[in-house]
Symmetry: C2
Subunit: 346 residues, 2 copies
């Protein structure tokens, strides 16, 4: 079937004006009298006319399209987080009248993949890009920034000198760990352990460092036996506990997991060994995963305001694209302690 779509010439003809006038009406020029404007708008409405973006772009307009690039870290995070993240960004962009073109990067080391990203910028002339799971100092991002594209990045640390067209949003892991340790300390715990995330990822590192700093601040000693390896996956929490118990080492009275999934795994292992949470051991998670409240016991956790952070990032990115002056280029996620049932007073 043939798709015949009206264009501005057609509208102009029907309205009895020139194409220039139609264009001026669409772009809200001030120098077109109300009568003419109304006449043209009426025809536009009647014919459901919408300008062809491709033509608009070619004529120098913005695309009003953002690229959303998800960097796969092994699996493209199969958890609910990624979904919320995508939806949240799309929703917010939509409010600003922007569209989102989503793309998955499987391997940032693969030049083919990187070429694909560049192509999206150059071919589609997207106005800016949001990168999830990449480091701000990644070479190809440097290239984009240098080339003058505006990018937003969810990173673990701030770059030293952010350029005007680089918006960076970071996690406040420090503050989160501080809350967790302070809360446990307040409940009377002194034997506090942790299950780390991947230490070769910055998120794993900063959380661990935050933990150490928080312990120091609360005047607590860190027992190396209670610093367990993990990789942010549920299973690693399970394994960590099994190994710990298997080695016959005395358990701490409280555990802080690098994220909720790890906490779930740890609790699963504890249960299997006949230990109860929180009666025998208190557990705190990180993120406030969708399942945290539904879990049994309901998981006390450090809630990270991902959604809010992403909304702010998107808004700032768009503001930067539209050349709004003096906007903040650094965003830090908020976090808060959500007390549920997995910790008890000693």
């Amino acid at each position: 079937m043939k798709k015949t779509i009206a264009n501005s010439s057609e509208i102009a003809r029907l309205a009895g004006v020139s194409r220039s006038t139609v264009s001026r009406v669409i772009n809200n020029y001030s120098n077109v009298p109300a009568r003419t404007r109304e006449k043209v708008l009426e025809i536009i409405r009647q014919h459901n006319y919408v300008p062809n973006v491709s033509a608009q772009i070619l004529a120098g307009k913005r695309t009003r399209t953002l690229g959303l690039f998800l960097i796969s870290q092994g699996s493209v995070s199969s958890d609910a987080l990624t979904n919320m993240l995508i939806v949240s960004i799309i929703e917010n962009a939509s409010k600003h009248g922007y569209y989102v073109l989503t793309h998955i990067i499987w391997d940032t080391q693969n030049s083919e993949d990187i070429k694909g990203v560049m192509d999206i910028f150059y071919q589609h002339r997207i106005d800016g890009g949001i990168f999830i799971g990449a480091a701000s100092r990644e070479p190809f991002i440097e290239d984009l920034v240098k080339a003058g594209f505006t990018v937003g990045i969810v990173d673990q640390e701030l770059p030293e000198r952010p350029e005007p067209n680089r918006i960076v949003s970071t996690f406040n892991n420090d503050a989160g760990m501080k809350m967790a340790v302070a809360y446990l300390s307040g409940l009377g715990h002194t034997s506090i352990g942790t299950i780390n995330g991947n230490m070769n990822r910055l998120s794993g590192q900063t959380k661990y460092e935050g933990f150490l700093a928080a312990m120091r601040m609360c005047g607590l000693k860190v027992n190396p036996d209670w610093v367990l390896e993990g990789d942010f996956q549920e299973n690693s929490g399970y394994e960590a506990i099994q190994t710990l118990i298997g080695r016959g080492i005395m358990l701490p009275t409280a555990l802080i997991a690098a994220n909720d999934s790890v906490a779930f795994g740890a609790i699963r292992a504890l249960k299997e060994n006949g230990l109860r949470v929180p009666e025998d051991l208190s557990v705190i998670g990180f993120d406030d995963h969708a399942m945290a409240a539904k879990h049994h016991p309901a998981l006390t956790t450090i809630r990270v305001e991902f959604e809010d952070m992403l909304k702010r990032l998107t808004s700032r990115l768009i503001a930067a694209i539209e050349d709004e002056p003096a906007i903040a280029r650094e965003i830090k996620s908020d976090c808060s302690l959500v007390v549920r049932d997995s910790c008890r007073r000693i």
Copy 2:
């Protein structure tokens, strides 16, 4: 910062040929000799040149972009399913060289929202659209099909006469329910109940009808007391069981939930009432949610091959867009029984 991007004229100048020749090289015309082709390609490579899509589209090419429209049903499914779904479609489209523009429709009854969808088709000239959560017979989809756009829809039932440009993919709820009932029956269960999904949604209806048909087929009687209301949410499973137990009615020996979330909720309620799964009651879920294997007890469930279905839908849609003849326009999801630990032999 200014973005200066090479165009085909520049490439032509540097290669010492006309712009037409460059275009012919890019579009793989046969009538350009190897020597010339290589020379042009070399310059293109050197300058990382990529054609401007907007210009290509304007000149009559396809956009190679699909629209992905998520219809919010209350909440934009907060579960991991939506994520997998988005990623799966994007990934598959990408393999075919297509991009994906994702959009959220909050309310299909809101004319503003619908206008937004149409605008994406007309403004962005996307080659086709995939609709998740809409019925194929939805008026605005009818309009799109009539207008000649190619669409793919994940629906609960097939339309009567699918047009060439309407690809419909449906769930095989019948087959799934049959598997569940047959399995339980094989284990010796005769008292089988079900917790429904929303009955005002076709997915809820067809599952319930499938349940009834399967029971009939296995020669089992349906006890109305054991047909419980639910709404696909975890909590509704919990409530259903609490109400059932609260009314002091005898329990069935097995339960089939409309999806895994509902099953989780039901099991939570059973546990709270001191009942064990599967010792006291067998439970089967539906979907094979990411948590099903991790749940305790690991949930026996009807696995629905969403991912595979979406890949097939995307591929078919693209095939239809590219005018490949005689492709199937109806896709049915596969499903299979995944036996885990939540059912026992009587």
